[in-house]
């Protein structure tokens, strides 16, 4: 056997290992999914209707004025090593009638067993992530390049980054456990799609993809997509939760299921803020992704912008997110309307990825199915 063949053989076995790792990750994600379901089911046993309590007619009467009368909350400034005590800072929210609604208790709803399952789900997600990342890494090694040159690789990397971002937020002690179930579900769907319909044997790149811009442009696109996804889930849940709160505020009585589930989510204003912060933070990076793509196109195809379907949809996605950010700054468009724009924008992003590759042929068609 000549050296080249040996190298090819190890590459193939690496690619095989990668497939096994991805399948194992899927199996563990399924377990995490079940644990999340258990968490939600068990959490349904506790019936703390905090939102309703906060919005009872009595409380509502006070609300307009209590933005100022509400008891001040002290935020401790921790981490002091000086001799002085850190000063206490009193914060006052001015977010209006519903800005002071408490966040829900999370999927476990304060139920101990539910919480246990929730923690199990997260541990399983960490394990699955490790397998998943291993799968992506071995795939990258087997092809000797960045693992995102076709839809299979893009999909597996994409969901890996989604999970990574989620775990990163958890690690930074941000309260985003509420996103666990939708996230694991999406990741399973994405991996299922990747391994069945989108699977492509590991292979080298066509020359047009040989460029360091591939690393910059595509990796940024993946990271932006993953974070936009988190924002998207928050916006979608915001819409449900907001309707729920509006109903309560109007004295209505939401169904038992809605109450049980929505009660445990963060308040609409928390969800909305989360969505905004994520989307706004990603937007400059998404802009740069497009610019990087344009630079690359300028080197590869002789024009930096040519209205290729992929370019068109990147542009549409960009304008849609710009629209969302504008909407947030315009009085009459805040809240639900802005959230709809955020959903539209993310739909554009998804379509740009799946739809454009499937329905249109353009210069980006290397991503072959």
């Amino acid at each position: 056997m000549d050296p080249m063949n040996i190298a090819a053989a190890t590459d193939e076995s690496l690619a095989e290992i990668s497939n096994y790792l991805v399948y194992s990750a899927m199996a563990v994600y399924v377990l995490a999914f079940c644990a999340h379901i258990a968490e939600w089911v068990l959490g349904g046993r506790s019936k703390v209707a905090r939102t309703a309590a906060a919005l009872t007619p009595g409380a509502k009467q006070e609300r307009p004025s209590d933005a100022s009368a509400a008891p001040p909350v002290a935020v401790r400034q921790g981490g002091s090593t000086g001799v002085l005590e850190r000063p206490h800072v009193v914060t006052r929210s001015s977010a209006g009638r519903r800005g002071d609604l408490p966040d829900g208790p999370g999927a476990a709803g304060g139920d101990e067993k539910g919480d246990l399952y929730g923690r199990m789900a997260i541990s399983l997600t960490v394990l699955a992530f490790a397998l998943h990342a291993g799968g992506v890494l071995t795939r990258a090694l087997s092809v000797g390049r960045a693992p995102w040159a076709n839809m299979y690789e893009f999909s597996t990397t994409f969901s890996m980054v989604i999970v990574g971002a989620y775990l990163g937020f958890l690690l930074a002690k941000k309260d985003i456990r509420w996103i666990g179930l939708p996230l694991v579900t999406t990741v399973l769907l994405d991996l299922g799609l990747a391994t069945t319909w989108l699977y492509t044997e590991s292979d080298q790149l066509v020359p047009a993809l040989h460029s360091y811009w591939l690393w910059i442009h595509v990796s940024l696109a993946i990271v932006c997509g993953a974070l936009f996804y988190l924002g998207f889930v928050a916006s979608a849940l915001y819409l449900f939760r907001d309707r729920y709160e509006t109903k309560l505020l109007g004295g209505g009585e939401p169904g038992a299921f809605a109450t049980s589930v929505l009660e445990r989510l963060p308040s609409s204003s928390s969800l909305d803020k989360f969505a905004y912060r994520v989307n706004a933070a990603v937007f400059p990076f998404w802009t740069f992704t497009i610019v990087a793509g344009a630079i690359w196109a300028g080197d590869a195809w002789g024009r930096y912008w040519g209205w290729d379907p992929k370019e068109v949809w990147s542009f549409i996605t960009w304008v849609a997110y710009a629209c969302y950010l504008h909407a947030r700054a315009t009085a009459g468009w805040k809240g639900r309307k802005a959230a709809y724009l955020a959903l539209f924008a993310f739909a554009c992003f998804l379509f740009n990825y799946y739809g454009v590759n499937v329905f249109f042929s353009g210069k980006h068609s290397y991503a072959g199915l």
Binding site: S68, A70, V89, S94, A95, G96, Q204, V312, C323
Partner: protein, 607 residues
């Protein structure tokens, strides 16, 4: 993290709204904290702007004038409002969609032709609606031109306002600092003057703009984060630069293709292009004066694996001159690495084979000799092409034209099946298969002709003795003799050719600069928080000084209280608290970690 433009479910719930309704004074503290227009919430109605109409012609004229002006002003105000900007932006994203669904003549002209041929009615409808040229259509242009007029109409007053803000002092401290979004207080033995001095120094050190507020109760007012607004303005201005650069690029651009055989050369004049498409304001004088020679072409292919045979590397070795008679320089052109000369870039697009043939006519003259580029039909470079011999003598000694049509394969793979196809893109077993014609090539008619096609309308195909079409398979070095001694075509060898796209582009530097400035501006606009901090120190009856510090941001952000805490902590080193117990509401928070009542709004981030 990014700073946050309030959650606001209902219109009046923004910080401006809430605070302004809370207490007018807080509205003043908030004043001029941004240049974003305060949206008119429906109170601006159209209607008669002319006012009372005085009798008589003069009165009528005056009224009409006022009416027109009023409407113009109303229209302008609408156009430059945030709401209309938002709607136009949304329309722009929707209007871009058809261009990705319907083939565009600028992107894929063949698909447009196919659609027109298959469905003429639909084609006509599309034509009427300019749907084959969405991005240069009247309606698409209308949207973005309106948007950019709106943008300019928005930027100019905002820039004006912002320069005013830059010159203005931070507003004086609100009467009740404890009503600000972030507040802290303590008592100290330092004198009020010392505290204020220390505060001023501290704020200046932190690059705040500081003003002394000599109101009834003196205070230090400070403000920071002007870069947010500057960034926002920069972003919107950069968008204009980007658009202008893009438009100029479209108007003055030109691109063309040229096919060069190894050993051949190209010089940048119109006549040397195989095809050329200029933008509407391009003139041939804009063509850069350069030339290049294709010295060699190399390519390599995947030897194994599922994509066996696909191109791995493709490299053209060229020698070029940037001016006639200039020094010849050497370089290579690869797929992602064009040759750049001034505003022009030369890209490598495709490559193929050019069999070298010679034709010796009946009189023994070499009537034609040279490489003839054949065009690839598949990834293994099965190629088809024609050889045209416009001037030769036939067996009767008359002038006649000859044409050959056929295939070339670098690695012959059809030995068993009888068909011609290539099994490998490299020349491992090159074979050419040709059939011959004689008659009139049609090249003299003065009509531009496709050099890769043979117009056989006025030509006759040579026949074998048995009447079947004359055709022959040739290996390099072999010849085919036409029937009846009409001449001999010899397959002498093979050369590579490369197809280059020469793109003349202007404004791409400006577009890039605009794009990068836009990103920088965006980052400033989204990551920087504009905020105000006030410090007030008042001597109390017991001889101690009460220090009050408050912060206000344009939007609610968890970083504001953090920053206030840091500042207060720093200030306390100059004005140490005399009695630590004086801090507000320390009881609950200190004891139990997470407070009972969640701190509203900023939960997910401060937990």
């Amino acid at each position: 993290m990014t700073d946050d433009t309030t959650t606001g479910q209902k219109p009046a719930s923004g910080p401006e709204g809430a605070l302004a309704t809370d207490e007018p004074e807080l509205g003043a503290a908030m004043a001029q904290l941004s240049t974003a227009p305060v949206e008119d919430r429906g109170q601006a109605v159209q209607g008669s702007f002319g006012g009372v109409r005085a009798p008589g012609v003069k009165g009528g004229a005056a009224w009409t004038g006022r009416e027109v002006l009023g409407w113009a002003r109303w229209f302008w105000r609408q156009l430059t409002s945030m709401r209309v900007a938002l709607i136009l932006l949304f329309l722009l994203s929707l209007a871009a969609i058809p261009g990705s669904v319907i083939p565009q003549s600028g992107v894929d002209p063949t698909a447009v032709q196919d659609l027109r041929a298959q469905n003429p009615t639909l084609g006509e409808v599309y034509d009427a609606l300019q749907l084959f040229d969405v991005y240069s259509s009247v309606w698409f242009s209308a949207i973005y031109i309106l948007l950019f007029v709106s943008l300019i109409g928005c930027i100019v007053p905002r820039t004006w306002q912002f320069t005013g803000q830059l010159r203005a002092r931070p507003p004086r401290a609100p009467r009740r600092l404890d009503r600000m979004p972030a507040f802290t207080t303590w008592r100290t033995d330092a004198s009020p003057e010392d505290v204020r001095d220390a505060a001023r120094k501290l704020m200046r050190g932190k690059r705040y703009r500081v003003a002394t507020d000599d109101g009834a109760v003196p205070a230090v007012a400070s403000e920071k984060g002007y870069l947010r607004e500057a960034g926002n303005l920069l972003f919107h201005i950069a968008l204009i630069v980007l658009l202008v650069a893009f438009a100029a690029g479209q108007l003055f651009r030109a691109e063309g293709g040229t096919l060069v055989t190894v050993g051949g050369s190209f010089s940048n004049t119109l006549s040397q292009y195989d095809d050329f498409s200029p933008g509407s304001l391009f003139t041939p004088d804009d063509l850069e004066d350069f030339s290049f020679r294709l010295k060699d072409f190399e390519s390599s292919y995947e030897e194994s694996g599922p994509n066996r045979g696909s191109v791995r590397t493709a490299r053209a070795e060229v020698a070029y001159r940037t001016a006639p008679g200039g020094v010849e320089q050497q370089t290579t052109i690869e797929v992602n690495e064009p040759l750049e000369i001034g505003n022009t870039k030369v890209y490598l697009l495709a490559n193929g084979y050019a069999p070298v043939v010679s034709f010796t006519d009946a009189s023994g003259n070499v009537a034609y000799r040279g490489p003839v580029p054949f065009l690839p039909q598949d990834t293994n470079l099965t190629s088809s092409g024609v050889v045209k011999v416009p001037d030769a003598l036939n067996e009767k000694g008359e002038r006649e034209q000859f044409g050959f049509q056929g295939f070339f394969v670098p690695t012959f793979g059809g030995a068993d099946s009888g068909s011609m196809f290539s099994r490998w893109p490299e020349p491992r077993y090159p074979v050419m298969f040709l059939t011959g014609y004689h008659g009139d090539l049609g090249v003299d008619a003065g009509i531009a002709q496709n050099v890769y096609q043979l117009d056989t309308d006025n030509m006759k195909q040579f026949k074998d003795e048995d009447g079947s079409p004359f055709a022959k398979k040739l290996l390099p070095g072999e010849s085919m003799e036409l029937p009846d001694g009409n001449g001999t075509l010899k397959f002498e060898g093979v050369k590579r050719w490369a197809n280059f796209q020469v793109a003349h582009q202007v404004g791409s530097g400006w577009a890039l600069a605009g794009a990068l400035a836009a990103i920088a501006g965006l980052a400033g606009s989204l990551f920087i928080q504009r905020r105000r901090m006030w410090v007030r120190a008042v001597a109390g009856p017991d001889g101690t000084t009460t220090v009050e510090m408050a912060g206000l941001g344009r939007s609610e952000s968890p970083r504001l209280p953090e920053e206030l805490g840091e500042l207060a902590y720093a200030l306390q080193s100059k004005a140490p608290p005399s009695a630590p117990a004086d801090a507000p509401t320390e009881s609950g928070a200190e004891a139990g970690g997470a407070p009972e009542t969640p701190s509203r709004g900023d939960r997910p981030w401060t937990r």
